[in-house]
């Protein structure tokens, strides 16, 4: 029986009020167990990154309004903490890996200095301990010459190496939850494999809970057991990877899957895409947000909002699942 490491209850994010209100994330709930990886997929702009930022409490400077029943890390609700208390937890119990490893490092300090700073801040370790922890974390992500890597500036490393160093920085304090926001999107194929291997290692060896945010279902399939499909700030389907790939229940999930090009299959007459466009956050359709693009939509889809329990199994938010 594994324990719940990250638990998010009814998280909502919006900008503005009244008629100006833009709902970015709408009552999203999920949990990730220790030693488990969960994927969060969806098209660009559907609220994936917003969700991650809100969990870390990083939206306060943007003017976005955040409300949730609870955001728990190892059973401790961090949404009620003050900013100062929350800062004690960020980097130590929950860490984030960013999409652009090139810009997520400060260009004026070496990689080693930046990793050391995180460690010193959270553990108060002396110089010797810090150096040891820093080199260990660089070695743990697979750098053979950790000392040399530590002395380089971020831009001297390739994109893949930078992302590995980013993982080293995120894991130097051994957090129990890691949020990886599109960690492989900016990388080439072989670097991607390396990064995914490292996430897998963290999950298995350190029992880290991983929330992997991606628009790429194939990436999610490689690392995660569970997957959530998000659209316009709502979770449409929450299931395990295997069932999603073998039998997607929500028409939108099925649409996403059909967009993945397959090697070896006969060339389709045209490249697949989901018809229509993602609606604006300020002008969301009533009822199911996907209804205007859905081939199976009927009148109740346009009138009332299907909850994740619409099929009575808590898997898919659809009145007419596949």
């Amino acid at each position: 029986m594994s324990t719940v490491a990250l638990n998010v209850k009814n998280l909502s994010i919006w900008f503005g009020d009244g008629a100006e209100r833009k709902q970015l994330v709408d009552r999203v709930s999920f949990s990730v167990n220790a030693g488990d990886a969960t994927g969060l997929v969806g098209e660009s702009g559907c609220g994936k990154t917003m969700t991650a930022m809100a969990i870390l409490g990083l939206l306060s400077t943007t003017g976005a309004k955040v409300r949730s029943d609870a955001i728990e890390i190892n059973g401790k609700d961090i949404s009620v903490l003050s900013a100062a208390q929350r800062r004690q937890i960020l980097g130590r119990e929950i860490a984030m890996i960013f999409q652009q490893p090139g810009t997520a490092f400060d260009p004026v300090f070496t990689v080693g200095q930046q990793i050391s700073a995180v460690y010193r801040r959270h553990t108060g370790g002396d110089k010797k301990q810090t150096l040891k922890a820093m080199l260990e974390s660089l070695e743990s992500v697979g750098f053979k010459q950790a000392g040399e890597i530590a002395a380089t500036y971020p831009h001297q490393l390739s994109g893949g190496m930078r992302q590995l160093a980013m993982i080293a920085m995120a894991t130097v304090c051994k957090p129990s939850v890691i949020i990886a926001d599109e960690p492989t999107t900016a990388l080439d194929g072989s670097s991607r494999a390396l990064i995914l291997q490292q996430l897998e290692r963290l999950r298995l060896q350190s029992q880290t809970a991983i929330l992997l945010i991606s628009h790429d279902l194939t990436v999610v399939k490689q690392v995660c057991r569970n997957v959530m499909v998000m659209y316009c700030g709502r979770l449409l389907e929450k299931t395990d990877c295997e069932s999603l790939f073998s039998h997607a229940r929500h028409p939108y999930s099925a649409g996403l899957l059909s967009c993945i090009p397959r090697i070896g299959s006969t060339r389709p007459s045209r490249i697949q895409s989901i018809p229509g466009q993602v609606p604006q956050a300020s002008n969301l359709p009533p009822g199911c947000h996907f209804a205007p693009r859905c081939t199976r939509a009927e009148s109740r889809c346009r009138e009332s909002i299907p909850t994740l329990d619409a099929d009575h199994q808590g898997v898919v938010a659809c009145f007419r699942p596949l």
């Binding site: 900013a83 929350r86 960020l90 810009t103 997520a104 490092f105 400060d106 300090f109 500036y153 831009h155």
Partner: protein, 279 residues
Amino acid sequence: MMWDTWQRFKTDRYGMGGLVVVILFLIIALLVWSGLLGQGWSEVSGNGWERASVTHWFGTNRLGQDIFQRTLFGTATAFEIGLTVTICSAILGTLMGALAGWYRDSWLDEVILWLKGVLDSIPFYLFAAAVAFALKGSAWAMHLAMIITFWTTTARIIRGEVIRIKQREFIEAARAIGLPDLKIMIRHVLPNTFHVLLVQSTIVFVAAINTEVILSFLGLGIQDGVSWGLMLAESSEEVLAGNFGNFIAAGASLFILLMGFNLLADALQDALDTRRLGK
């Protein structure tokens, strides 16, 4: 960081040349301040307008004062004005610019921008004259006038840099590891503005020395002592009469020091900019 920067700086021959020149002038200035050099700047030690000789290396001026001694003393004046104005306006400008940039579009930003706009709209020499008059001939009137007007440019540049840096992902990353705002500012924002501040400071240093020349010429500058500016002001009459002592001594000193300073700044900028390192 300091050691790396020095290692990179050492390989730049022009920069090292500039550093040597600046250090030589600085030594002269230090010796003047400690009373070992240039103490005879006001003493009448010969006839008016003597040519260069063994006793008067650069000749004498109209009153018979030794131009070499006056040049040495002028070095100390130049450093005193340059350093005071540069350091004070850099601190003030960085503080104001960083506050305005970090709290962009807040009331604080508005106030600072308004203040900057007001100061920039006053003609500089008129303002300097007003400050000099208000302080009734104080030796610091010129410094104050320059600091009050020079910080605005630094503030504008730093504000822009801070706004640009604040949007970079590593600031978000610093928040994500739990760093409070003030520490993010000191550790990640300001170090990233440092190379810009350095270049701006060399411009201010050069501008301060240049402005001193003009203000001294107008009688608003140095009250007690001598500067290259005063010497150039004197030479404006002498050159027509064929006496180039003041003009060459002050002009050449000014040129060599400013050139050395610019080379130094240029090399420092390259050495500090870690992004320019090879892959």
